[in-house]
């Protein structure tokens, strides 16, 4: 044995010794190199229009949409300059923002074929999975080639309290891949090069604002829930149950206080009820509860299972918004601007005149429209008009301004005639008749529907007048349907009545209408299906009504006269 070693040493003396890599390690290295080469072109270095500030982002579609942090884009402004790894600078505009969740969507211009990365499934992550962060820490990349740092998933479904700011990181990913000022807004990739997080926060302490092994990223699955909202130029609000929860001494999470106006209250939830699961996830701590709440936009309906005296009940409840209108943009953001390097700053130069205001290219300005309460109304208006155009395409409704007569047959038996015209909506079933008129009359009729007649009246109006009859009519984001797919919503308002219009994202069909006549009550909900041409226009032949979370009638359209 020893002689063999001696011989090998002698042989080795002539040629330099080579480390024999475990082939699995060599393969892993090659895979990492290949993934980095693939995703590098999709990482964005974000700057303000004059080159100030700095953060990172990642392109997620070929037409130029890119994700970043809200605290990066709010410091950069509505118009940005974005550098890609090819060394080129592109113009970009803000699209939508989520101040609480610290997410922003921007759009780059100049190409129709931007390299882009896919959003992966962050729920598939396991502790210890290898992760890569890419971005522009310390603004090192003067040529915009991103810095790569490597680490593992150190913690999952973490909750980070909003410390002195609005930013609350719920259900976030903790990693020991180095994340420093300037990395904010950049992607966190899994081993396959899918974006499973957007980096934005870290735990810092006595060593100043440099990474000490703990960074946090917003999960891709949370971002997916908000993507339709972000695309619509909205200022997104997160969700509240309308209740606070607390942990009892025995570890159970119970309802502490609940608003009587909360939908959960109307569905039966009361103080002291134990929260067992929320949106399908078990709730073992207040943090876990907040984690679930934090990943949904307001207006979404989720399942909640509670226990009272050994009895478990599951309800579906709509989540309300947390903030009052306008409040989101007023709250202070992160105290320190991103991208400032740590340690003593350079000696201040003698006072210079303020730098000249950067010029925004004219062609870019048309992609930004300021409107109170919106991040960028241009995108909202575009998406809204696109959805409403889908209504127009299904018939010459604009001409059908006369009376409409619909005959519906109930699954349970019996016929209903609904007549709608300029001044009234009438429901006639046998000898029973209900009428709704402008003003208070018949506002909630027929009884038990929450106001079907008012809903149908608004439905006819939207088809005839598109959005002109409604003083408020905006695109509202994505909302889950009963089978889990996301429908695209438009919110409208007229005469104190709020309506939500839900469209199929593939074929643009109007799949649902919610009509809320009583702001502290439940809306009348109609689910439309089976569109067919009748009386020269395409109308739904299946109508399913619900109110207060319970079915309130299911019908087939037998005949229609649409004048």
């Amino acid at each position: 044995m020893i002689s063999a070693l001696l011989i090998s040493v002698c042989l080795a003396a002539d040629t330099p010794a080579k480390i024999t890599l475990d082939p699995r390690l060599a393969a892993e290295e090659q895979q990492r190199i290949a993934v980095i080469a693939k995703v590098k072109p999709t990482v964005v270095a974000i700057f303000g229009p004059g080159g100030a500030g700095g953060g990172s982002g990642v392109l997620i579609s070929a037409d130029g949409y890119a994700l970043s942090n809200y605290h990066v884009t709010s410091a950069a402004g509505n118009f940005m300059k974005c550098g890609l790894a090819d060394g080129r600078l592109y113009d970009a505009v803000i699209v939508g923002i989520d101040p609480v969740g610290d997410v922003a969507l921007i759009k780059l211009f100049g190409r129709e074929d931007f390299p882009h990365s896919k959003l992966g499934d962050s729920d598939k992550l396991k502790l210890g999975d290898p992760l890569m962060a890419m971005g522009n820490p310390f603004l090192l990349a003067t040529d915009f080639e991103p810095t790569v740092t490597f680490g593992i998933a150190s913690g999952l479904h973490r909750y980070q309290y909003p410390a002195g700011t609005l930013l609350e990181y719920t259900d976030c990913i903790q990693t020991d891949a180095s994340i420093n000022p300037g990395n904010s807004g950049g992607p966190l990739f899994n081993r396959d090069g899918e974006v499973i997080g957007i980096n934005g926060r870290g735990s810092f302490e006595k060593r100043g604002r440099v990474n000490v092994g703990v960074g946090y990223a917003i999960s891709s699955n949370q971002i997916k829930n908000f993507l339709d909202h972000l695309k619509g130029g909205l200022v997104i609000d997160h969700a509240t149950l309308g209740a606070t929860v607390t942990t009892e001494a025995d570890g159970r999470v119970v309802v502490n206080e609940i608003l009587s106006s909360a939908e959960a209250y109307r569905r039966g939830l009361r103080p002291e009820d134990e929260i067992v699961s929320f949106a399908g996830r078990p709730v073992g701590s207040v943090n876990q509860f907040k984690n679930v709440l934090g990943i949904f936009p307001k207006g979404w309906r989720v399942d909640l299972t509670y226990r009272r005296e050994q009895q478990k009940t599951t309800i579906k409840t709509k989540l309300a918004g947390v903030h009052a209108a306008g409040e989101l943009l007023k709250k202070p953001q992160q105290p320190q601007p991103p991208g400032r390097p740590p340690g003593p700053g350079p000696k201040p130069e003698k006072m210079m005149a303020a730098p000249p205001k950067p010029k925004i290219p004219e062609e870019l300005k048309k992609f930004f429209e300021a409107k109170e309460g919106f991040a960028n109304y241009y995108f909202n208006r575009t998406l809204r008009d696109g959805l409403l155009a889908g209504l127009r395409s299904r018939g010459d409704f604009a001409k059908r301004t006369g009376a409409w007569k619909l005959v519906l047959v109930a699954d349970a038996g019996g016929e209903v005639q609904i007549t709608i015209d300029e001044s009234s909506a009438v429901w006639k079933a046998g000898a029973v008749q209900f009428t709704a008129r402008a003003g208070e009359e018949g506002r909630f009729d027929p009884p038990g529907t929450g106001g079907l007649l008012v809903a149908v009246d608004h439905w006819r109006r939207m088809l005839i007048d598109q959005n002109k009859w409604f003083p408020v009519c905006d695109y509202a984001g994505g909302f889950p349907s009963t089978n889990g797919e996301l429908l695209l919503g438009v919110h409208a308002e007229r005469g104190g009545v709020k309506t939500a219009w839900l469209f199929d994202r593939k074929n643009g069909e109007l799949r649902g209408l919610e009509c809320l006549a009583d702001k502290d009550g439940d809306p009348c909900e109609i689910a439309f299906g089976e569109y067919q041409t009748i009386s020269g226009v395409s109308l739904p032949h299946r109508w399913e009504i619900s109110y207060g979370g319970k079915p309130a009638g299911a019908y087939r359209l037998r005949s229609a006269e649409v004048k």
Partner: protein, 364 residues
């Protein structure tokens, strides 16, 4: 010859697999290992929570009957120490034994059949090997949430000349130096394991290398505490009497790291923020040669404002050993700027403690 070695290496995993061994590659970690280690980790809560003293820390189970090993921490000074296990159970913990030189503490909770690390296993590890650090750093994990896991590489197995603030590191043995930032607030008492989840050491406190002024990430190797734990579990360890501990401390006082003030004797630091007046200047010292006098008020060390004697000591200590120190002092109405030589410059000077004693006799 080399080609054959390659072949053997390539075949090894296959051979091991054939023999039923799951060959977890030594350069990566798997989710199952991490899950197993996490089950043995404990989150600790106790006294503190003011200023820089955290009320939270980490530990891990070392026996099926609930013995928990951790680092000797101010949080253990509480009348009640709470341990939160991996499954979220909150149990009161009793302090059983301490080792003030290695700064270890052994606690116990009531119960049995706890998942624990088996200290009897000898695990060898070398610089370059992958290591994983588990701890509740920054108190991120609450209740039944998993503690945090970080990945690094064993950088060295060496003696550490370190300090915690102004106190010298008492332990003189070898430690495992890690290249990952494991030693953070709340991490002391965490577990350092190898790629297969076997215990290598206990993550230590936040200390600075006395030579380089840099934060060091280290763990105390298992060989250093295997015997202590064995004795306590076997009931053979006598708990140190609190009085006896104090007496021991008096025998070997903690050596305070000397901060080289270049011959400046500041006012005794008796107030919350004692203003940084120079009380006396040692004769023959660099301070005297630079022209500093008693009653000068030190305002700036370099570009940093000095707001107290403590500030002054900390700031002057931060200046790298080979650099000169620029001071700005206020004498009467005048601002005077002086330059002092780098640390350890030759001069006839005594330690601050003996000078203070000397100064007492000099006071008019």
């Amino acid at each position: 010859m080399r080609a054959r070695t390659n072949d053997v290496v390539r075949c090894l995993p296959l051979l091991l697999a054939l023999f039923g061994f799951v060959a977890q590659p030594a350069f990566s970690q798997d989710a199952e290992t991490i899950r197993r280690v996490s089950e043995r980790m404990v989150k600790l809560f106790g006294a503190g929570g003011l200023g820089r003293i955290e009320a939270y820390g980490s530990g891990f189970l070392v026996s099926p009957n609930g013995h928990i090993l951790t680092i000797l921490n101010p949080l253990l000074d509480a009348p009640e120490i709470t341990s939160v296990l991996a499954d979220g159970r909150r149990l009161p913990a009793k302090l059983l034994a301490i080792d003030s030189v290695r700064e270890l503490a052994l606690l116990k909770v009531e119960g049995k059949d706890f998942m624990h690390f088996d200290l009897a296993e000898t695990v060898s590890v070398e610089p370059g090997d992958l290591v994983l650090g588990f701890s509740n750093l920054f108190n991120i994990a609450a209740g039944s949430e998993s503690v945090s896991v970080q990945r690094g590489v064993l950088a060295a197995h060496a003696r550490l000349t370190a300090r915690q603030g102004f106190n010298e590191f008492t332990y003189r043995g070898k430690v495992y130096v890690i290249d990952a930032p494991t030693n953070n607030p709340g991490a002391a008492g965490g577990a350092l394991v190898d790629h297969r989840g076997r215990l290598l050491g206990i993550i230590g406190k936040e200390v600075k290398n006395a030579l380089s002024e840099t934060w060091v990430h280290y763990a105390l190797p298992i060989d250093e505490f295997r015997e202590l734990v064995r004795q306590v579990i076997a009931g053979k360890y006598k708990p140190t009497d609190p009085v006896a501990v104090d007496a021991k401390e008096k025998e070997q006082p903690r050596r305070v790291v000397k901060v080289d003030l270049r011959g400046i004797v500041p006012l005794p630091d008796v107030l919350d923020r004692t203003p940084a007046f120079i009380d006396a200047v040692q004769s023959g010292s660099p301070a005297e040669k630079a022209g500093l006098k008693a009653d000068d008020l030190v305002l700036f060390v370099g570009e940093s404002l000095v707001q107290s004697v403590d500030d002054f000591r900390v700031l002057i200590d931060k200046i790298p050993a080979d650099q000169k120190v620029r001071l700005v002092v206020l004498r009467g109405q005048n601002l005077i700027s002086v330059e002092l030589p780098p640390r350890g410059a030759k001069s006839d000077v005594r330690t601050p403690e003996s000078s203070a004693a000397e100064k007492k006799t000099k006071q008019p």
